[in-house]
């Protein structure tokens, strides 16, 4: 017996987390194999700044769908790597505006082809009869409609 199979759906949380970790580890190795010093978790920040070049911390957090403390810790790492920089907002002194550095913009260009091979590989990998990206979206929509908790209260 393998409890992961037997217990089925009650282990879903762990299954999701472990698949996530595996993909992330591989993602890191793929950047490395392409001579790029970049971590998968930085992707949403850098990618967002490509399209919205100047954002405050909270705006950026909202864009990438993270909490602001998580975003701040990513920004600290990216600042250490000199991929982003920040400046005060003159209109609103509370805000810190985030921008890509020249190094960040250059790296972004270098990563484009790697991203393309990753998108292709992931598309192939997840092109199964139940598409995992669609499945995630569907479950998120279901949860939005009625939480897991509420569904246990009949």
């Amino acid at each position: 017996m393998n409890v992961i199979n037997e217990s089925g759906i009650l282990g879903i949380s762990t299954r999701l987390q472990r698949l996530s970790e595996q993909l992330r580890r591989d993602g890191f190795q793929i950047y490395k194999a392409n001579g790029i010093d970049f971590e998968p978790k930085w992707f949403p920040v850098i990618y967002t700044l490509h399209f919205k070049p100047v954002l405050s911390v909270v705006e950026l957090a909202a864009e990438i769908g993270y909490t602001h403390p998580s975003t701040i810790s990513l920004l600290k790492e990216l600042e250490k790597e000199k991929l982003i920089r920040s400046k005060k907002d003159k209109q609103d002194e509370r805000k810190r505006l985030i921008l890509l550095t020249e190094k960040g913009k250059k790296l972004l260009q270098q990563m484009q082809p790697v991203w393309q091979t990753m998108v292709d590989a992931l598309t192939e990998l997840t092109n199964t009869s139940n598409n995992i990206m669609k499945a995630i979206e569907e479950v998120e929509a279901q949860l939005n409609d009625k939480s897991f908790m509420d569904r246990t209260k009949k």
Copy 2:
């Protein structure tokens, strides 16, 4: 623009992790709402010991599909809760055998109906056109066949 949608599949790792966390938090609240002091992460250990009452640390880790250090840390928590206990294997002095306590067995009985409502709710929640449990299994099978990394090397 929401980068989570735009960047699509490259953010898959984060998406998986966050869905995992959300379901786990709700799981904890559901136990609590039913007056049960139990954490979702403990489930695989307790459930396995229900069917295989005496297992060594490594055997248990293999059953639940975790590394042994992760398993040890779960066992420490469960021992503190007095839900499990352990004893030395007389045949092999290296081994520590894990068992449910009476309290553990009793709690397990109390949790059965809660597990049933959770299974029902999760089944409803994930009963979408792309089934997420099947999708996970399919992706894991794909990865087993050929890793993400190898798929980027054309």
